[in-house]
């Protein structure tokens, strides 16, 4: 019980706890910029040259194995998977092209942390959404609930766990940059606080409106994310879905909040009906 209490308080610190404690303002968690002093990253697709230094740095830092073919030759993964936390993809058509980086978006109000029945996923106040594998039961609800299809599974393991970017929470706690942004040679990927990243993103859009698609992806999507994107083409083409601003935990929480009322309401109604239908003995025997 002590652990749970501590966990709740920790989450409360992240702002999502406002959902746990009904006495606080529930909406606060949904307001983007709530985590403006928390860690964030900005990916500028127009500056990315597709060198994949970030991808390699991620594998090294996280100790993830390379994907090999049957001759033990290194194979490039085609998507995020149980061994790949981040990946650079290329969009190309006849007129234009753009690289795009994929990894966990570290939502301000993450669906995964909200739906996990054992609280194995946690939004830390510092920004990263981290995964506690020792709690996980392997229900894979986080995988279905994530609007970005981020959590991946170790399907070939007998005791599989979820794999996803942890935003180098340990490095950031030690005052260092995440491995991927530290490795980026062109400045396409930079890290800092969410407020700084948003300021830079909007500055670039204002300075070069001709070069950019006029939208900072992640500023408001599902309540905002700690990974922010600017790009030269539409985000749909880069594989980023058009999402509403409502955080996913805000959809389910009103229903979960109603559960005690449903429980006691139903019990009360049933008791009342019981006394009504059994109000005289003869009827009961009849």
């Amino acid at each position: 019980m002590e652990v749970n209490r501590r966990d709740f308080l920790k989450i409360a610190g992240a702002g999502i706890g406002t959902l746990v404690l009904p006495s606080l303002d529930v909406k606060a968690a949904a307001i983007p910029g709530n985590l403006e002093n928390a860690h964030a990253m900005l990916y500028d697709a127009t500056k990315c040259v597709g060198c994949r230094a970030c991808q390699v740095a991620c594998k090294k830092r996280a100790g993830l194995p390379y994907v090999m073919d049957e001759n033990q030759l290194y194979e490039m993964p085609t998507d995020l998977n149980g061994d790949t936390w981040t990946i650079i993809k290329l969009y190309q058509d006849t007129e234009t092209y753009s690289y795009v980086k994929k990894q966990c978006m570290h939502c301000v109000a993450p669906a995964c942390a909200s739906v996990c029945p054992v609280a194995a996923l946690e939004k830390t106040p510092e920004g990263p959404v981290v995964y506690h594998s020792y709690k996980c039961i392997g229900c894979r609800y986080c995988m279905t609930a994530c609007p970005f299809d981020v959590p991946k599974y170790e399907w070939d393991e007998t005791n599989p766990i979820i794999q996803k970017c942890d935003f180098c929470a340990d490095l950031q706690a030690a005052g260092q940059q995440p491995a991927c942004s530290a490795a980026c040679p062109t400045g396409a990927l930079i890290s800092g606080t969410r407020a700084e990243m948003l300021a830079i993103a909007h500055q670039r859009l204002a300075d070069h409106p001709d070069q950019y698609f006029n939208h900072v992806y992640g500023e408001y999507e599902v309540g905002g994310t700690s990974m922010l994107y600017i790009a030269g083409i539409s985000y749909e083409k880069l594989g980023y879905p058009t999402l509403k601003n409502q955080p996913i935990p805000d959809i389910t929480w009103p229903y979960m909040k109603a559960v005690p009322f449903v429980f006691f309401g139903m019990a009360g109604a049933m008791s009342a009906i019981y006394y009504w239908t059994h109000r005289n003995k003869e009827e009961e025997e009849g």
């Binding site: 652990v3 749970n4 966990d7 746990v20 998507d79 995020l80 998977n81 149980g82 669906a111 909200s114 739906v115 996990c116 029945p117 054992v118 609280a119 194995a120 709690k135 996980c136 039961i137 392997g138 229900c139 894979r140 609800y141 995988m143 279905t144 609930a145 609007p147 299809d149 991946k152 599974y153 399907w155 070939d156 393991e157 007998t158 005791n159 599989p160 766990i161 879905p241 999402l243 509403k244 996913i248 959809i251 389910t252 929480w253 229903y255 979960m256 559960v259 449903v262 429980f263 006691f264 139903m266 019990a267 049933m270 008791s271 009906i273 019981y274 239908t277 009827e283 009961e284 009849g286």
Partner: protein, 386 residues
């Protein structure tokens, strides 16, 4: 009267070919499940972009939905005081109890780390619909065990614990109704976390209500379906009066469901997909017409309700409607990679269903499944059969 295990005697119903096949399929399914614990989930066709397969859609979502008969029949008999249905309480409670055991066994196959399932007890997340479902299922399975225990205690001739359980029957039934209302609807809430994944025909803020209503209706249909088949298998008289009485309420439940659903489709504007997406439209119409509207009309007709095969067919359609609904909303029209279950997944699903039949059969053979007033009649027909 002697008490104890010696008291339990085997009722000698004939063992048919069907039952032998069920035993074999059950053995195969359990062996594959055991193999899965050795090698992991690689024997399934689930993947990163299709993390839930038929174990979730069929065994969990549909199985729990069809088990709703246990709480609605208990409510009708004990709370609404309609004594006429009393004879089917025991088989219905048993069916529910077995369904929840099967759901737990399914989880042990489907969870990536089944050895950690008890973590639900120590790590809490009150935000998670699945957390609530997990707790409700744990507690409700215990409630069903207690609701069913008088049958076992009676067989053993243990009077004192029997009296104790009987004295708390009503609180148990009310607890069971509350828990069922919660988790049947929360199975719908669970899917509300996927607004960008589920087709708008199925995704709706009212999904918890739909899941609850369809479970009540299909749970009653399951009760009728089960009592018809056990009457045939165990050479009992099919209680058509009872079946007719239960099913006479189904049109009201389904009618409410259909009215809300149609209003929902019109108000939310999802009817535009009726023209745009032919494949979802096709499945949606089959589900709504064949799985809800037609059974509702059939059950509303007294001629259908007074005819065993009419009752069984309508029940069959309604149960199929619930299963189709759960498949459509959790698998077929949930975005993801192409998926067709592997042989191992199918074997486990069939095997667990067969295990349910085996457990039911064993209970009928070893336990007094018919309540006191009918016991004499039951044993008489047994003598005749023997």
């Amino acid at each position: 009267m002697a008490t104890g295990v010696n008291n339990i005697r085997l009722r000698k119903y004939p063992v048919g070919v069907g039952m032998i096949i069920v035993w074999i399929a059950g053995a195969i399914g359990l062996s594959v499940a055991a193999y899965r614990w050795i090698v992991g989930l690689r024997i399934t066709n689930m993947s990163d972009n299709r993390p839930w397969g038929i174990w979730i859609s069929f065994d969990m979502m549909s199985g729990i939905g069809l088990a709703a008969g246990a709480f609605s029949i208990a409510a009708i008999v004990y709370i609404f005081n309609i004594k006429k249905l009393y004879p089917i309480v025991r088989p219905t409670i048993l069916t529910g109890f077995i369904s929840y055991i099967l759901a737990a066994l399914t989880l042990l196959a489907d969870l990536g780390l089944p050895q950690n399932i008890w973590h639900l007890i120590i790590y809490w997340n009150i935000h998670s619909p699945l957390f609530e479902i997990g707790w409700c299922v744990m507690v409700y399975t215990t409630v069903l065990l207690l609701e069913f225990s008088p049958v076992v205690l009676e067989a053993l001739g243990w009077k004192a614990p029997l009296k104790l359980i009987q004295s708390i029957t009503i609180p148990l039934v009310i607890l069971g109704i509350s828990l069922s209302t919660m988790h049947q609807s929360t199975l719908g809430t669970m899917l509300l976390a996927m607004p960008y994944r589920i087709h708008p025909f199925w995704y709706s803020p009212l999904m918890p209500v739909y899941f609850f209503l369809t479970a009540i209706a299909a749970g009653m249909a399951m009760t009728v379906f089960e009592s018809y088949h056990s009457a045939r298998t165990y050479q009992q008289k099919f209680e058509i009066g009872i079946a007719s009485k239960i099913t006479s309420w189904i049109p009201y439940v389904l009618g409410l469901y259909l009215v809300i659903k149609v209003v929902d489709v019109i108000v939310s504007g999802t009817y535009i997909y009726l023209i745009q997406d032919p494949w979802p439209t096709f499945m949606f119409l089959i589900e709504i017409m064949g799985g809800a509207l037609i059974p509702a009309l059939m059950f509303a007709d007294k001629r259908v309700r007074s005819n065993p095969s009419g009752l069984v067919w309508a029940s069959f359609l309604l149960m199929g409607g619930l299963i189709l609904n759960r498949f459509n909303s959790t698998l077929v029209f949930m975005n993801g990679d192409f998926y067709f279950p592997s042989a191992a997944e199918i074997a486990v699903s069939i095997g667990l269903t067969c295990l349910g039949i085996i457990m039911f059969d064993a209970a009928i053979r070893f336990l007094p499944m018919y309540p006191n007033p009918r016991e004499k009649q039951a044993s008489k027909s047994l003598e005749n059969a023997a």
